[in-house]
Amino acid sequence: MRIVVCAKEVLDPDAVNSYAVAGRLEIGEDGRTITQAAIPRLMNAYDEQAIEAALRIRDAGVECTIAVVSVGGDQADVLKQAAAMGADEIATITVDTSTVDYHVAARLLAAYVEHSGGADLILCGRQASDDDQGVVPALIGEALGIPVITIARAVEVTSDAARVTRVTPNGEEIVEADLPAVVTISNELGLPRYPTTAGRIAARRMQANVLSPDDLGLTPDDLQPRVALTKQFVPQVQGNCEMLSGDSPAQIASDLIERLRADQVLP
């Protein structure tokens, strides 16, 4: 069985949050992109968990090859990490990221699957923490004409089907679909493993398969973006917080309840 995991490099969302909260998030001169060099780039956390999900399938005794693929400019760190975690193959599709929209990314990833020996299971993150879109996996599924199961907490596979535990707003749900299928992984999967020393050493020797859109049989037409980012800004949060203090927690508590009643927030 062949499992393809799609992994994207993103700006560390916690660092972005810290800068935004401090009012120091910098948008570059193009007015569109976050330029802060101090913000680390790392693998989208859900994608790390997607790799973990693949490794758990292998740990469960399923014979499989795990390939991790990333679309972007310089994905060396993301792929090295994937290899250190235990991926068997790593691949990067080199394109100018500024011209890659979700449609193009999905098309490239679907073409990679078709050109790299197919996939019985494609694992993605539920969404990328930079754009939060969560559309690429569904677009891959449609491009390949296969089912898409979102927001998985656990994935098991048999020779021809996937059994997935999904986290829905109403609670958990167990579903099944024939393979091949796309499954998106959510944080409820749990922590991804740390690469072992042996894994790191092996990763150093592993060569990434570097592919161009041309290698994947795609034409410039296929790469025409249809959504263009024209602007990015930090929305203002207007604070009007009144700090309550008092001699004791009990007093502050009753003060708060009184105010909420006066405001008619509480009866």
């Binding site: 949050n17 909260v21 996996p137 979102t150 707003p169 609670g171 099944e176 249809r226 009753s254 509480l266």
Partner: protein, 321 residues
């Protein structure tokens, strides 16, 4: 050119339809295009008529087919794809529910439409659809331009638009038939937890706890105050990940989006991804021992102190009356 607002099932089941119809109407008025409301799945006719009239929708298209019952992604995508083929909309807007988050991009892939999720605003500017979306969990807003004739499939975030009624004539309701006879859901449900009780999305009062509670055995302080106030208990993601609270309690970008009258956040830092699920609350009260915690930027009232102590005293104060 046509703007289609699309909802699934009973539109009165949630408040999102009013927001969607408001945004769709604004968009259609801004460039004098037709507005239609597509109701997929079984929905009470009277309720649909009433909402359409109240929000100025003159034409309602209904697709009712037994295969659309429950979350049926294959049938939903196919039904919408057939609809788009027979009367191509310029823009199709959907409320971004859990199920729509899958159906929207799949539909886009199926009919070769562009797709954009997390929209907080949509404008039409001489043939270019401009969508403002939330990114980085809400830390930034990104503006995208969608080119081509469409269709453009756009997922609209909850709480982004204030509902605004608009009087209209009695709506015309069309029954649109689609052929789903060949559709068999490829995803088989093996086990499903039945829908339980009240939804956080509808709660009027929410008390939420975060990592500041300290440990799993402290979550009951959140539940105690919620109960005393007649509200619901909720949680930030880390404490759900650590098993202190059930995933169905999670508020935020990847959890529930709520809009209570009162949101009490105890031991929650106020990361954008959390606030994405509660910043629409009318009154936010923040309890945090760090006076610089970002949550205070969103709060109406702030208390610097230990959240366990304060939750306990608040519960006492509420019960004392």
């Amino acid at each position: 050119m046509t703007i289609v607002a699309c909802t699934f099932g009973d539109p009165t089941a949630s408040g999102e339809v009013e927001e969607l119809l408001t945004l769709a109407r604004r968009l259609s008025e801004s460039n004098a295009s037709d507005l239609r409301w597509l109701v997929a799945g079984s929905a009470p006719r009277a309720a649909v008529e009433e909402l359409a009239a109240a929000y100025g929708v003159a034409t309602v298209d209904r697709i009712d087919d037994p295969k659309l019952e429950g979350a049926a992604p294959d049938a939903s995508v196919e039904a919408l794809a057939q609809y788009c083929a027979s009367r191509p909309p310029a823009t199709l807007l959907l409320s971004q529910t859990f199920d729509a988050r899958l159906v929207a991009p799949r539909l886009a892939g199926r009919v070769n439409a562009t797709v954009m999720m997390n929209a907080v605003d949509v404008e039409n500017d001489v043939g270019t659809v401009r969508v403002t979306v939330s990114a980085y969990g809400g830390d930034t807003r990104a503006v995208y331009e969608l080119t081509g004739d469409g269709p453009h499939v756009i997922g609209v975030m909850a709480n982004a638009t204030a509902p605004e009624r608009s009087s209209g004539a009695t709506p015309v309701i069309n029954d649109v038939s689609v052929d789903l006879s060949r559709i068999e859901e490829r995803i088989r449900i093996v086990e499903r937890t039945p829908e339980q009780g009240p939804r956080l999305e509808d709660a009027n009062i929410i008390v939420a706890g975060g990592r500041g509670l300290g440990s799993a055995d402290k979550f009951h302080h959140v539940e105690d105050l919620a109960e005393a106030l007649g509200g619901m208990a909720a949680a930030s993601r880390p404490i759900v990940d650590d098993g202190w609270a059930d995933p169905s309690r999670q508020i935020g970008l990847t959890g529930k989006v709520a809009r209570p009258a009162l949101y009490i956040a105890a031991g929650i830092s106020g990361a954008s991804q959390h606030m994405a699920g509660c910043s629409a609350a009318k009154t936010i009260v923040a309890i945090n021992r760090d006076p610089d915690a970002p949550i205070f930027r969103y709060a109406r009232y702030g208390i610097v102190g230990d959240c366990i102590e304060l939750l306990t005293e608040l519960t006492n104060a509420v019960k004392a009356r």
